[in-house]
């Protein structure tokens, strides 16, 4: 054993490695991405690791490995599970041989996602067990246990961390390499009665699954990470916990109150109780199947319970259900009762407030203890700068959007966006994203709008990684159904948004092999598009005339704007403004919004430390005032 300072996702990865994981597949998505990357970085020799083309493919690859007796891990973010739900729902009936952990990172807030969906519901829906870690250390140990449960019950299991667990760091105690479990897959054994899903098999397995989940609920009631924490078990940091009404008698004053929590919210609860008073806490580490026996033990003797959890009221509903079934006179509070906010993430402060309010309610003894430290009063604070995320200086997407904008000026258009850095094309002054729904959806939306408004020029913008992940079927649909639309591929040769993962168009795999690039233009021609033009977006004139020409063609046509992401190529060129030529029209600033262009008063200049020398601004400057090189280096 030794200690390492690890991000939650790294701890999860090392936990999987310690459990002898043989295969890891996934699709990048915040906040899940670093899990797969860490396995590749730390144990590339011991496990096969791949970025699959999308989550559905990843799920199937992992399932195949688990059929063959391997320990397999598949990783994705919560919306990725929507894509992978088809194989998963059936896999729930078929089960696995080797341990299979389906890691789905949820994103309360949401901080970088389209939805606040709760994967714990997916666990109920699919009847698959779910593990919900509350910290990096717990996640490290829990994923090893998750593999063991998966093998014991022959079922895939969910492992569902949330953003603050994924991206929180901690000094984590981890195993040394010689303590790792070695897992030898024993191979696939043919058995059609087991591996081929038919209605009859599904019916039989459904019965078994319902039985199994009863057994699991019982098993989980003694799983050590589901816990009832009484006040004397609390970690005591500062020499005593203030304001416990029960410190002498060991009894709670009426009404007797308790708190139920899971995930990161559990840690917020434990922190809040240091100052807000005392209450027994039920920690739920396996929301499904719910550890009913343990929960009943907790409810016994309580009058009121407050549920603190993020996303949906899963624990709250389970407790209400238990109270109903067992005729328990316990009031259950939480999101459903509007005691806790029902959207957005919990914070240390929101949870403190919830708990103080709950304990103070009709309970004189807790009131005095509710004194949290006060922050300095923020009176008369000056207006703070607003810093929304924007496209980087020199980002080729800016040039692509600007070319389309210029070419289509005055025409009736709709610009359907998609998921990736280029969603930021919606910001002023570009304002080039009219819709954004989910991965690959822009194509279908452009087609649908075109059916209803045939006089609109319908554009769909899609990035290269998103193209491979989920846009190809949309192109086939458009061609087959004779749509009239322009597909714009923003090809920057990487998966930029999530931190530059390789994909089928990059010619590299996660194992580091150099492979044949899958050529987007060839794919489009293969589907039947006859007009496919590839152009460098940083050539402004050529790009504008390309868009003008292509948009007028009938049917489905495509433009591939090809220029690498500047965060990968890191160009070190720069441009500067010649003050004697600049007429301060500010066209460059007003139209492009490049963060390297700065204005103070009437003077426009370029921040050489940000500028990548993409030259877009110099191509639109009416007086040719923007030139190559840094100021004063004579390179004019």
């Amino acid at each position: 054993m030794h200690k390492e300072f690890l991000m939650g996702n790294e701890a999860i990865a090392l936990g999987a490695v310690a459990a002898g994981v043989n295969l890891v597949s996934g699709y990048p998505g915040t906040p899940s991405t670093e899990v797969l990357e860490t396995v590749a970085k730390r144990r590339a020799d011991a496990a096969y690791v791949e970025w699959s083309v999308n989550e559905k493919a990843a799920m199937e690859v992992a399932a195949g490995a688990a059929y063959a007796g391997a320990r397999a891990l598949v990783t994705m973010k919560q919306v990725g599970l929507n894509v992978a739900s088809d194989p998963l729902m059936s896999l729930a009936y078929i089960g696995v041989k080797g341990g299979m952990v389906v890691l789905v990172a949820d994103d309360p807030g949401p901080i970088s996602s389209q939805t606040e969906q709760d994967t714990r519901h997916f666990a109920f829906f699919s009847k698959i067990p779910c593990f919900d870690p509350s910290s990096a250390q717990e996640a490290y140990e829990m994923i090893q246990e998750a593999f063991a449960y998966s093998e014991k019950y022959h079922t895939p299991v969910f492992f569902r961390p949330t953003t603050r667990v994924c991206h929180g760091y901690a000094s984590v105690t981890v195993k040394d390499a010689d303590e790792y479990t070695l897992h030898q897959p024993d191979g696939f054994t043919k058995d059609t009665g087991r591996w081929v899903i038919f209605p009859r098999l599904s019916y039989q397995n459904h019965i078994k699954i319902e039985e199994r989940n009863l057994t699991l609920a019982e098993d989980f009631s003694s799983y050590k990470r589901n816990q009832i924490i009484r006040s004397d078990d609390l970690l005591d940091s500062s020499g005593g916990i203030a304001g416990f009404p029960d410190s002498k008698t060991g009894r709670l004053t009426a009404p007797r109150k308790g708190i139920a929590a899971g995930g990161i919210s559990f840690t917020y609860v434990m922190e809040a109780l240091k100052a807000a008073g005392s209450a027994p806490v039920l920690k739920i580490a396996t929301p499904h199947p719910f550890p009913e026996r343990l929960a009943l033990e907790f409810l016994d003797g309580l009058d009121e319970v407050l549920c603190i959890e993020e996303l949906d009221p899963v624990i709250e509903r389970e407790l209400i259900h238990l109270c109903g079934r067992h005729h328990l006179p316990v009031k259950i509070y939480g999101k459903l009762s509007r005691h806790v906010k029902n959207a957005g993430e919990n914070t240390r402060d929101s949870v403190s407030e919830n708990i103080r309010g709950f304990l103070a309610q009709k309970n004189e003894s807790a009131e005095g203890a509710a004194d949290l430290p006060n922050s300095p009063v923020q009176n008369g604070a000056p207006d703070l700068p607003v810093r929304p995320p924007i496209l980087c200086a020199g980002c080729p997407h800016r040039a692509s959007f600007y070319a389309v904008k210029t070419a289509m000026k005055g025409k009736k258009t709709i610009f359907c966006g998609d998921i990736g850095c280029y969603t930021l094309g919606n910001a002023m002054p570009l304002d080039m994203v009219d819709t954004c729904l989910c991965m690959g959806a822009g194509l279908g939306i452009a087609q649908g709008v075109g059916r209803i408004e045939p006089d609109t020029h319908c554009f769909a913008f899609v990035g290269d990684s998103t193209f491979f992940a989920s846009a190809i079927t949309g192109v086939v649909n458009a061609v087959y159904n004779q749509a009239d639309m322009t597909l714009i591929i923003l090809d920057n040769s990487t998966t930029a948004m999530t931190g530059h993962q390789p994909h089928p168009g990059t010619g590299r795999t996660m194992m580091g092999e150099i492979v044949t690039k899958i050529d987007i233009e060839a794919v489009l021609r293969g589907i039947g598009l006859t007009t496919v033009e590839t152009v460098d977006p940083l050539d402004y004139e050529a790009s504008v005339s390309c868009v003008r020409r292509v948009a007028e063609e009938p049917g489905v046509k495509a433009i591939i704007f090809k220029s690498p992401c500047i965060a990968v190529t890191k160009p070190s060129r720069s441009m500067h403004v010649r003050p004697e030529k600049c007429i301060s029209c500010k066209k460059c600033i007003r139209e492009l919004g490049c963060p390297a262009l700065i204005v103070s008063g009437k003077i426009v200049s370029i921040d050489a430390s940000l500028c990548t020398g993409c030259s877009l601004c110099s191509q639109i400057c009416p007086t040719g005032a923007i030139v190559n090189g840094k100021e004063g280096d004579g390179n004019e």
Binding site: Y169, Y268, S375
Partner: protein, 197 residues
């Protein structure tokens, strides 16, 4: 020792490395550490923060309002944004150099760093200001803001870590060719150079 430290700034300023150095320094002293930081889309020129919590008895990597012993601000406006985290009597170390957001450039509205510093002066007793412009010039590198601020934080006494602790962390985390420069930045914050107020 229990310390709650908030670092804040604008994406790309080096807050992450600073928080990693603090964590590494604490771990070398066998102290438990937890931290949390902004990751993802918000990093691009957006406001970023790191919370670092050192000591026993900690459950959550997040710091609550009024709980920070020290705020280390890489940009004056961002420092003001984080003030609600500061505990009563807590310490603030901040760079005085402002970074204008693109929105200000577009709308022509002016954002003043001096206004932020004036406000901090009003609100915070234990305030240390680092003139990053001047310091980077004197040291001869524009990339050492994080160590300059860490140095000032060490000297303020509120960090609970010594210059030696941070140096040891630098030795383990950074390539040797950068050691001398970073040590110089760390040692820069003499009282006259980084005045209280």
């Amino acid at each position: 020792m229990n310390k709650n430290i908030v670092l804040c700034g604008v994406g790309g300023q080096g807050t992450v490395l600073a928080s990693k150095l603090i964590a590494a320094a604490a771990m070398q002293k066998d102290l438990p550490v937890m931290s949390a930081e902004t990751i993802g889309m918000a990093q691009r020129g957006g406001s970023v923060f790191s919370h670092v919590r050192i000591g026993e008895g900690i459950y959550s990597p997040m710091i609550a309002n009024g709980e920070a012993d020290i705020i280390i601000g890489f940009e004056p406006g961002e420092t003001v944004r984080m003030l609600p985290f500061l505990k009563k009597g807590g310490t603030v170390v901040t760079s005085s150099r402002k970074i204008s957001p693109v929105t200000a450039t577009l709308s022509g509205s002016s954002y003043s760093g001096d206004g932020m510093i004036a406000y901090l002066n009003e609100q915070v007793k234990e305030l240390y200001i680092v003139d990053a412009e001047k310091a980077c010039e004197e040291i001869g590198s524009s990339k050492v803001l994080n160590l300059l601020l860490l140095g000032a934080a060490v000297k303020s006494g509120a960090l609970g870590l010594s210059e030696e602790d941070i140096k040891a962390a630098i030795r383990t985390r950074l390539p040797e060719k950068f050691h001398a420069l970073n040590f110089a930045a760390l040692a820069y914050a003499r009282p006259a150079r980084c005045p209280r107020k």
